[in-house]
C-alpha cells in the first residue's frame, strides 16, 4: 500500500522509509547520472529565458546544479582516498536531495519562483547584457579593467526588490545567481563552498568513517579534495560568470570552526534524525582518537590509560554526548579531534604540571636514571622528547608555511564578470602563464612534484630510517606512585588555564588565548597539536579549559 504523503526519512541502514506508513522503500533508482542531465526536471519549474544573452550562455543552469557537480567530485575524491562508496552513492546523495527539497529548489510541489528576477529579465529582453547600470559596474575602463570589487555586491540585495520599470539586470551564468545572493529569509540556508564540506562531513559522520574534520580540511588544503577551483568540474556548457563568481569562487581556505558550525546548521535544516551512535569502538571516540594522536605526537602509550580515566571522569565518552542528534538542540557540538587533543594536553598537565619547572626537573631525573640503566625500559624524558619534537615540528612547520606561500590560486578557467571584462582577464591570464613559465625555468630543480599520497598520519616515529627516537614504548616512571591500590601522580598540583569561562553569546568564544599568560611548555604542546590538526591554538585551548572545568567542577563550585 502506498500512501500519498511525501514524508520520508532515512533508516539506520541508510534506506528511505515513509514516516507516515513506515514502508521501507526497496526499489530506488539512481537519478543522478555521471553526466549532468540538462535540466529535464528543473526546467519545468521555472520559465525559461526567452533570449540568449550575448555571452555564449550555453545551457541554462541553476546554482544548485553547480553545487551538485562539486559535491559529486568531492565525494569521488574522498572515495579515492579510501572512504566507502556508500558515502557517495547513498548518504551524500540522499542528504543532497533532502537539502534540495527543504530549500525548495527541487523535489517539491511548490518551488521557489524568482518572480522579481524573472519579470526584470522579461522586460530586459532587448537590453544589452553589457549595459549594466549598477553603480559598482560603471567604472569600467578598458585600460586597467577596474574589475568588480566585493563591495559592489552590497547592491545586489536591492536588485530583487527593484521594480519592473528599472532596466537593471544581474549578469550571471546561472539562472538564479542574482537572487541566490539576496538576503536570506529566516529559516533559509544557502549552500556555499564551505558548506559543501560541511555536507560531506555530515555524510562521513553518518557512516562513522575514520576521518576527522581536521583530516578532511587538511586534505582540502593539500589539494586532494576539490575546493579551490572546484568549478572547473562544470561541464563546458555550464558557463560561469557575473554574480556566480561570488558564489563559486573561493578566496580563503575553509576555517574549522566555520565548517563545524555550518554542519550543525545543516543537520538541523535537513531535519535529520539522530545519527548513528558513536560507541567505544568507534574511531571518533576519544579513547581511540587519543591513541592516534599520542602516536603522532610521539608520546608514551601509557598515557592512554590516563586519557581513558579522564574521559570516564568527565563523561565525554558517553554515546549520548558524542553522537550528533539534530533533534536535541541542547547537545554540545562536539569537536572530536580537538577534544582528543585537549584530553592529551590535560593529561600532560596532570602528570607533568607543565609549569616550566616540574617537567624539566623530572626530565633531568629520568635522564640520569636512563644513563645508569641502559638495558631496562627507558623512562620518559620530557626534555629529550621536547628537543626531538621541536626539531621535527620546526622543519615541518617551515615546510608547511612555504607550501602555503607557494600555493597557486588561479586555474586555467578564468573567471570574469561580463563579456567586456573577458578579454582583459584572458589577456592577463596569458601574461601570467607566460611569466610563470619563464620564472619556472629559472627555479631550481625542486619543481612542484606530484602531490604525495595523503595519509592519516603526518609524523611517523616508529620507522627505522628516521633518526628521531620513538617514545611510544617509554614508561612513565618517576611521576607516578602507588596509592590505595591505584596509580596516581606524584605531582599534586594543577593550574587551571582559566578560572572563569566567558559568555559565548557575547564574544563568540568561551575563552581567549593570550600566549604570554601561559608557560612555554604549555604553549609548545598547544602549538604541536595546533600544527597536527591545522586549527588555531586558541581552539584547542578553549577545549582544554572546558575539560578542566568539568574535571574540577566540584572544586570550582566550592570557591
Amino acid at each position: 500500500m502506498q500512501c500519498c504523503i511525501i514524508n520520508w526519512g532515512l533508516t539506520d541502514e541508510g534506506k528511505f522509509y515513509c514516516k507516515s506508513c513506515h514502508n521501507v522503500i526497496e526499489r530506488t533508482t539512481e537519478v543522478l547520472t555521471s553526466d549532468v542531465v540538462p535540466n529535464t526536471k528543473i526546467q519545468s519549474i521555472s520559465k525559461g529565458l526567452r533570449k540568449r544573452k550575448k555571452i555564449d550562455k550555453g545551457w541554462e543552469w541553476y546554482v544548485c546544479e553547480g553545487f551538485q557537480c562539486i559535491l559529486k567530485k568531492q565525494a569521488e575524491a574522498l572515495q579515492a582516498l579510501g572512504v566507502s562508496p556508500q558515502m557517495k552513492d547513498e548518504i551524500l546523495c540522499n542528504f543532497w536531495r533532502c537539502y534540495l527539497q527543504k530549500s525548495k529548489q527541487a523535489y517539491c510541489s511548490m518551488p521557489v519562483t524568482d518572480n522579481a528576477l524573472i519579470s526584470d529579465i522579461g522586460t530586459d529582453v532587448d537590453s544589452e547584457p553589457e549595459r549594466i547600470s549598477l553603480h559598482g559596474f560603471s567604472s569600467f575602463s578598458e585600460s586597467d579593467g577596474d574589475l568588480q570589487t566585493e563591495s559592489s555586491f552590497g547592491r545586489v540585495s536591492s536588485i530583487g526588490k527593484a521594480s519592473a520599470t528599472e532596466t537593471t539586470s544581474v549578469c550571471s551564468g546561472s539562472v538564479d545567481g542574482g537572487s541566490y545572493l539576496l538576503k536570506r529569509k529566516k529559516g533559509d540556508l544557502k549552500m556555499s563552498m564551505p558548506m559543501t564540506l560541511s555536507l560531506c562531513y555530515l555524510a562521513l559522520l553518518w557512516l562513522r568513517e575514520p576521518v576527522t574534520l581536521s583530516d578532511l580540511l587538511r586534505f582540502v588544503l593539500d589539494g586532494h579534495i576539490p575546493y579551490l577551483n572546484a568549478f572547473q568540474c562544470f561541464p563546458e556548457e555550464m558557463k560561469l560568470y557575473g554574480v556566480d563568481l561570488k558564489i563559486f569562487r573561493v578566496e580563503s581556505w575553509p576555517v574549522y570552526e566555520d565548517v563545524h558550525k555550518k554542519m550543525y546548521e545543516l543537520a538541523a535544516f535537513l531535519d535529520l534524525p539522530c545519527f548513528p551512535a558513536i560507541t567505544n569502538s568507534c574511531f571518533l571516540h576519544p579513547n581511540i582518537l587519543c591513541i592516534k594522536y599520542l602516536m603522532e605526537a610521539n608520546l608514551p602509550d601509557e598515557l592512554h590509560n590516563w586519557t581513558c580515566r579522564v574521559v570516564k571522569k568527565i563523561n565525554v565518552g558517553e554515546t549520548d554526548f558524542l553522537t550528533l542528534d539534530p533533534v536535541n538542540k541542547s547537545t554540545r557540538k562536539v569537536k572530536y579531534d580537538v577534544l582528543a587533543a585537549a584530553l592529551i594536553i590535560v593529561v600532560l598537565k596532570l602528570l607533568f604540571l607543565l609549569d616550566d619547572q616540574y617537567e624539566w626537573l623530572h626530565a633531568s631525573f629520568a635522564r640520569k636514571r636512563n644513563q645508569k640503566n641502559k638495558e631496562e625500559c627507558p623512562w620518559f624524558d620530557f626534555k629529550k622528547w621536547y628537543t626531538i619534537i621541536k626539531k621535527s615540528l620546526d622543519v615541518e612547520q617551515k615546510k608547511l608555511d612555504e607550501e602555503r606561500a607557494r600555493c597557486l590560486w588561479k586555474c586555467e578557467k578564468p573567471l570574469f564578470y561580463s563579456a567586456k571584462e573577458k578579454y582583459i582577464v584572458l589577456k592577463r591570464r596569458q601574461t601570467v602563464v607566460n611569466l610563470q613559465r619563464q620564472f619556472g625555468s629559472l627555479s631550481g630543480s625542486m619543481q612542484v612534484s606530484e602531490k604525495q599520497k595523503p595519509s592519516s598520519f603526518q609524523l611517523n616515529w616508529a620507522e627505522e630510517n628516521t633518526d628521531g627516537i620513538c617514545f611510544h614504548g617509554h614508561i612513565l616512571e618517576g611521576i607516578l606512585q602507588e596509592k590505595d591500590n591505584s596509580l596516581t601522580t606524584t605531582n599534586t598540583k594543577y593550574w587551571l588555564c582559566t578560572v572563569k569561562l566567558c559568555n559565548e553569546k557575547i564574544c563568540g568564544h568561551l575563552t581567549h588565548y593570550k600566549e604570554s599568560d601561559f608557560p612555554q611548555s604549555y604553549q609548545f604542546v598547544l602549538n604541536l597539536f595546533s600544527f597536527l590538526l591545522r586549527v588555531p591554538a586558541s581552539l584547542i585551548h578553549e577545549e582544554v579549559c572546558l575539560i578542566e572545568h568539568k574535571l574540577f567542577k566540584t572544586k570550582l563550585r566550592r570557591r
Binding site: 585600460s143 586597467d144 579593467g145 577596474d146 574589475l147 568588480q148 570589487t149 566585493e150 569562487r249 578566496e251 580563503s252 581556505w253 608555511d401 612555504e402 602555503r404 606561500a405 607557494r406 600555493c407 597557486l408 590560486w409 588561479k410 578564468p414 582577464v425 592577463r428 591570464r429 601574461t431 601570467v432 607566460n434 611569466l435 610563470q436 619563464q438 620564472f439 619556472g440 625555468s441 629559472l442 627555479s443 631550481g444 625542486m446 559568555n503 557575547i506 564574544c507
Partner: protein, 463 residues
C-alpha cells in the same frame, strides 16, 4: 556639568541591572559629607573589542607571505629561491581586489627585474621578454617600464636596442592616459635625445675619418638630422625645472658645434639663475666654463663664480676665482680673494694642496709687505680659525708627514704657520729645522721674514 554626570549615572545604573554576569569595574564612592563621585562607565559596545575593517582574504594573506619570502631571498641573494616564489606571486596580477591589482605590476616588475639581473641563468633576452610582458599589463605602467628597460639595455651596452625601444615608446598614445603620463613621456624623449647626441658624435667621428667626399657629405646629412632631433628633445626637457646635467652638457656641446652661442648663453643662464630650478652648483660651473671659452670679461666671470663660492666654497674653481680676484685692481676684491682662499683651506680635501697654500702664502706676504695696513684682513680671517686650524693643519705630527711627503707643501705651510702662529710654533720650528739641516737656501729668507713679522702682530699667540 551636573546633568551630564546625572545622565552618566543613570546610564550606568541601567547597564548594571541588565547584565548581572558582568563584573562591572566602575566604582561608586558615596559618602554623606562628600558629593558622590561617579566614574564613567564604558558603554556597552566598548566592552568587547573586535577587529574592524575588511579581513584579508586567504589569497591576500598567502601572497603577502609569498612576498616576504621573496624579499628575504633577494636580500640573501638567493635568486633561485626568489624565482620559485615568484611563480606564485605573479598571481597578484590577477587579484580580485582592484587596489591590489593596480599596485601589482610595479611590484612584480621591480622584483622580476632584480631577479633577472642577477640570476646566473638569466640573460638580456630573458630580461627583454619579461619587460615586454610587464609593459603591457595595464596601461599605466607602460612608459615607466619602457624607460627602466632602456636603462638596463644601456647598462648592458645595447645602445641600438635602447634606441629602438625609446623610439617605440615615444610613439605611444593612449587617449586620456597620454596627458597623465606627460612627465614620463618627456623623460623618454630626453633620453632619446641623449642617444641622438651619441649617434651624432659617432657620425661626426666617422665623417672626419672618411676620405670619400660624397660619402662624407651623406654622413654629414645624417649627423645634422640627429642634431635636430636631439636639440628639440633637449630643449623640451630643460624647460622643466629639475636637474638635467647630462642633457645640458650634451646640448651645449651640440649648440657650440653649430655656433649658436646666443642659445647657449640663454640656456645656461636659465639653468643657473632661474629660481624655479633647484639650486645646482654644476649649472654655474657650466656657465662659467662657457663664458671662459667665449673669452668673456673677468667681471662677468667673477660674478658667476661668486654664486658658486656661496654654494660650494670648496669647489676646485675657487683657485681660479681667487686668482682673478687678486688680479683685479679693487681692494674689495683682494679682500674677497683672501676670504676665498682661507675658506677653501677650511676643507679637508684641500689640506695638502700645494697651490692653495702657496696662494695663501703669497697673499699674506703681499699684505705684510705693503705697509701692513690691511693686516686686519688677516686678523679677521684668523680670528674665527685660530681655535682649530693649529690642530687641523699645523700639528707636529702633520709637520713630520708633510716634510716627508712633500717638501714644498711643508715649506708653504710653514710660512703661513710662522706668520699666523708665531715663529715659536711647532710646525714652523720643525720644518725650518729640517730645512736648515737639508741646507735649503730659501728657508733662510723665509725664516728672516717670519721673524721680522711674526713678533709684531702676534702678541697673544697660543700654540
Amino acid at each position: 556639568m551636573d546633568s551630564f554626570v546625572e545622565q552618566l549615572t543613570r546610564g550606568a545604573e541601567e547597564e548594571f541591572t541588565e547584565e548581572s554576569a558582568w563584573d562591572g569595574s566602575a566604582v561608586r564612592i558615596e559618602s554623606s559629607s562628600l558629593p558622590a563621585i561617579h566614574l564613567p562607565v564604558l558603554p556597552r559596545y566598548l566592552q568587547h573589542t573586535t577587529t574592524g575593517g575588511r579581513k584579508a582574504t586567504g589569497f591576500q594573506e598567502t601572497k603577502t607571505a609569498c612576498f616576504n619570502y621573496i624579499h628575504e631571498a633577494l636580500l640573501e641573494n638567493q635568486w633561485q629561491r626568489a624565482a620559485e616564489f615568484m611563480t606564485a606571486y605573479l598571481e597578484t596580477l590577477e587579484s580580485t581586489s582592484a587596489e591590489h591589482r593596480m599596485a601589482a605590476p610595479e611590484v612584480v616588475w621591480r622584483i622580476g627585474a632584480e631577479i633577472l639581473c642577477h640570476h646566473s641563468k638569466s640573460s638580456i633576452e630573458e630580461f627583454n621578454y619579461f619587460a615586454e610582458r610587464i609593459k603591457n599589463v595595464g596601461v599605466k605602467n607602460y612608459l615607466k617600464v619602457c624607460l627602466e628597460h632602456v636603462f638596463h639595455l644601456l647598462c648592458n651596452g645595447l645602445i641600438d636596442d635602447a634606441y629602438r625601444n625609446l623610439s617605440l615608446a615615444e610613439g605611444w598614445r593612449y587617449g586620456e592616459q597620454t596627458a597623465a603620463h606627460d612627465k614620463e613621456m618627456k623623460l623618454i624623449q630626453a633620453y632619446k635625445g641623449l642617444l641622438d647626441y651619441y649617434n651624432w658624435s659617432e657620425k661626426r667621428k666617422a665623417m672626419l675619418e672618411l676620405d670619400d667626399d660624397d660619402l662624407a657629405q651623406f654622413v654629414e646629412q645624417e649627423m645634422h638630422s640627429f642634431f635636430r632631433q636631439a636639440a628639440v628633445n633637449f630643449k623640451e626637457i630643460i624647460k622643466i625645472p629639475g636637474v638635467w646635467d647630462p642633457f645640458v652638457k650634451c646640448y651645449v656641446e651640440l649648440l657650440e658645434f653649430y655656433e649658436d652661442y646666443d642659445e647657449v648663453r640663454q640656456v645656461l643662464s636659465e639653468y643657473a639663475y632661474n629660481s624655479k630650478f633647484p639650486s645646482n652648483p654644476n649649472a654655474h660651473v657650466y656657465l662659467y666654463q662657457f663664458l671662459k671659452r667665449q673669452g668673456e670679461s673677468k667681471k662677468t666671470r667673477i660674478a658667476v663664480l661668486k654664486i658658486l663660492h656661496e654654494l660650494v666654497p670648496s669647489h676646485e674653481l675657487m683657485l681660479e676665482y681667487n686668482a682673478m680676484l687678486q688680479k683685479s685692481k679693487k681692494r674689495k676684491k683682494h679682500r674677497l680673494g683672501l676670504q676665498v682662499i682661507f675658506t677653501v683651506l677650511d676643507f679637508a680635501g684641500w689640506k695638502e694642496h700645494v697651490k692653495a697654500w702657496s696662494c695663501l702664502a703669497k697673499q699674506i706676504k703681499q699684505i705684510l709687505e705693503n705697509s701692513s695696513k690691511h693686516l686686519y684682513w688677516i686678523m679677521e680671517e684668523w680670528n674665527s680659525r685660530k681655535d682649530w686650524w693649529p690642530a687641523f693643519h699645523f700639528s707636529h705630527h702633520l709637520a713630520k708627514i708633510n716634510w716627508q711627503e712633500n717638501e714644498s707643501l711643508a715649506c708653504e705651510k710653514a710660512f703661513v704657520a710662522g706668520i699666523l702662529l708665531g715663529k715659536d710654533c711647532k710646525y714652523f720650528r720643525y720644518v725650518s729645522h729640517q730645512g736648515h739641516k737639508a741646507k735649503k737656501g730659501r728657508f733662510q729668507t723665509m725664516k728672516k721674514f717670519v721673524k721680522k713679522h711674526s713678533s709684531s702682530h702676534n702678541p697673544s699667540v697660543s700654540i
